[in-house]
Symmetry: C2
Subunit: 90 residues, 2 copies
């Protein structure tokens, strides 16, 4: 199933780690938004790792788009994300 | 229908305007993510205004979650967004 993950993480180090974690599951589409195609096992696995990494001040939202996700996703403007400086660090 | 809008807008002024625009349609759930309950007319109206405001370097993604959105939305950690400094400006 297609999922979207967006996050607000004030701490720089944790934010980098979250980006690296999500990159291992899917594709970065915006600075703090990833999309991934996961089966239920992978989703459960990813959620467990997200919870392990998070602190109470962090916010992560996961949206399950389901099979007909292409009809549910509109991309306006720049489709590919700008290059992320931190990408060279991880 | 329930929708999610996320954006990456490098320009500060335009980003403020986008936040103000989306605030008029729905609720800010993260720094650059809004959720809204819109009918097709409102959605079309909002998309038109988003397109008017955007420049090619900007990225806006709109996800249509549909009726069973509560089952499709997982909130981890802080549910309410941190206060946004720009909120006092708009």
């Amino acid at each position: 199933m297609r999922i979207v993950v967006s996050y607000d993480i004030p701490d720089d180090t944790r934010r980098l780690k979250m980006a690296a974690l999500l990159k291992s599951y899917g594709e970065r589409v915006q600075l703090s938004v990833f999309e991934a195609e996961l089966n239920p096992y992978q989703l459960k696995n990813m959620l467990g790792k997200i919870r392990e990494l998070m602190e109470p001040e962090d916010s992560v939202r996961v949206y399950l788009l389901g099979k007909d996700w292409k009809k549910r996703t509109l991309t306006l403007g720049r489709a590919a994300p700008l290059s992320f400086p931190e990408d060279d660090v991880i």
